[in-house]
């Protein structure tokens, strides 16, 4: 084992572009190329190009691939049609979230599970452990793919310049194989920015050529390379949870306000899945006596809330905790996602503050997301 960070197939490209690099889940990834605010605005108004090759791909194949995934994950994966994708989670038997995932059904008996970089091994191990008795094979494809994302309102136009694939027929949360800039790719209309956009899974050997072709195709539309910093503020504005922040093993999907991803009615295994009993209890608790709720907070001042800062009343009583916070380029104010006691979770609740290094700064409680794109 070496502790040296892993590098993506685009590493030299990032360095040539002058990226500020950062260690992320054992990978050396671009944090930003110039200004994270400008990258953020580019994705909201034009388009941005991301290297997401650190994400973890796991392929599940076989006659009982659907049955295995229905048992191992909380979603109704057997109900996903070929060519479509589903946002789902993998939970512990006790209901805690191991990771949030996107599962693509590539063929009748073939799925690709995309895990967060920091959890890819955990997900691989859990799937493998849960596969006993199922006629299905699990393949670690983390090294088989590079992942590029084009996100933003101009992204369909940019991609159309370099592919003949039927993008208009490709719905949100769908994926199909195709050729992009002469490179074989799984073209998926997914993303983590709150904008329309595409994620392109390709062989690592093709990543540089694809990056360069997309850069060229997007030049007139104002496409810019984007790092993980703006990816975080984009997803925060869009109210999307991040593993390790809003989602942890001590949180169930219901605690995170994402109970809708848990499907107790499944087409396979008589509806049985790992975590079912605990999650049924969590659903009951969330409906009648929720401990804390996930809300949005918008600052009136300019100081920025950070993950872990206490949410307090004006008198200083702790009523919650910030899980993510950042200055929102779109709103022009600091925003946060926080767990707060249910009594304070109603939008418009008065007297909610965040303790920012000893100073109680007033915040407005709001529903998530902070930003929703116009369709």
């Amino acid at each position: 084992m070496t502790d040296a960070p892993r590098r993506t197939a685009l590493d030299a490209t990032h360095r040539a572009l002058g990226a500020t690099m950062t260690d992320f889940a054992g990978w050396d990834m671009p944090l930003r190329y110039s200004s994270e605010r400008e990258e953020h605005v580019a994705v909201r108004t034009r388009a941005g190009l991301f290297d997401l090759s650190h994400m973890g791909e796991i392929t599940v194949t076989g006659p009982q691939a659907a049955d295995l995934l229905d048992y191992a994950l909380v979603g109704n994966i057997g109900g996903v049609k070929t060519g479509r994708a589903r946002y789902t989670m993998i939970c512990e038997a006790g209901g805690g979230i191991l990771d949030d995932l996107i599962v693509y059904r590539l063929a009748d008996q073939e799925y690709m599970v995309v895990a967060n970089a920091s959890n890819a091994q955990v997900v691989l191990d859990a799937l493998t452990a849960r596969a006993g008795g199922f006629d299905a094979a699990i393949r670690d494809d983390r090294d088989a793919y590079a992942l590029l994302a084009v996100q933003g309102p101009e992204s369909p136009g940019i991609l159309k310049k370099v592919t003949d694939a039927d993008l208009d027929g490709l719905k949100y949360y769908a994926g199909l194989p195709g050729t992009v800039a002469g490179v074989q790719a799984l073209i998926a209309r997914t993303g983590y920015t709150g904008e329309d956009g595409f994620e392109l899974f390709v062989r690592p050997a093709d990543a540089v050529a694809l990056w360069e072709a997309l850069t060229e195709a997007g030049r007139d539309a104002g496409l810019v390379p984007c790092g993980l910093s703006c990816r975080d503020t984009l997803r925060l504005e869009a109210g999307m949870p991040l593993y390790g922040h809003e989602l942890t093993t001590s949180t169930t999907p219901f605690d995170a306000g994402l109970g809708r991803v848990v499907k107790f009615e499944k087409t396979t295994n008589d509806g049985d899945f790992v975590g079912r009993t605990a999650l049924a209890e969590a659903a009951e608790r969330a409906g009648t006596n929720p401990p804390r709720k996930l809300v949005g907070l918008i600052a009136t001042g300019r100081r920025v809330p950070r993950a872990g800062y206490p949410v307090v009343t004006a008198e200083g009583t702790v009523i919650g905790e910030v899980t993510s916070g950042a200055p929102s380029p779109t709103l022009g104010k600091p925003v946060a996602i926080a767990y707060v006691d249910a009594a304070y979770a109603t939008p418009g609740t008065e007297g909610v503050c965040v303790d920012i290094r000893g100073s109680h700064e007033p915040y407005e409680v709001t529903a998530l997301p902070f930003y929703k794109r116009q369709k």
Binding site: T20, T233, R303, P327
Partner: protein
């Protein structure tokens, strides 16, 4: 990036202008501004406050982090840059010019400050 020759530098990445009638201007270096990323909020000491070399006198917030601001010298604050309070991005766009942070009437000689060349070597190391 270039560090202006006429300035002196602290190891906490502040720059200090040569004292004119005992008043020096203080800012953070381009190197520090780049490391912070987009600065979104600055908290500066109040005019009249007494500051001490190496001690915290404010904070700088960027998208991803918050950093303490240190004074490179002992002295009394005579002016703060209201422009940078209103537009913290000046720290990024003009760290040695419009992004200056405060002016301080120095009391005594500043201690362990670096020349531009020494500072350049320091941030390389």
């Amino acid at each position: 990036m270039s560090n202006p020759q006429q300035l002196r530098y602290s190891k906490e990445h502040e720059w200090l202008s040569g004292a004119e009638e005992g008043v020096s201007t203080v800012g953070i270096t381009e190197h520090a501004a780049n490391a912070l990323g987009d600065v979104v909020y600055v908290q500066l000491p109040e005019v009249g406050a007494t500051v001490a070399a190496g001690e915290t006198c404010g904070e700088l917030e960027s998208t991803k982090s918050v950093s303490d601001l240190y004074s490179p010298v002992d002295g009394e604050i005579t002016e703060i840059n209201e422009d940078v309070v209103n537009d913290p991005s000046l720290v990024n766009t003009a760290p040695f010019e419009g992004g200056w942070l405060f002016k301080v009437k120095t009391s005594g000689e500043p201690g362990d400050l670096l020349s531009a060349d020494e500072y350049a070597a320091f941030i390389q190391s």
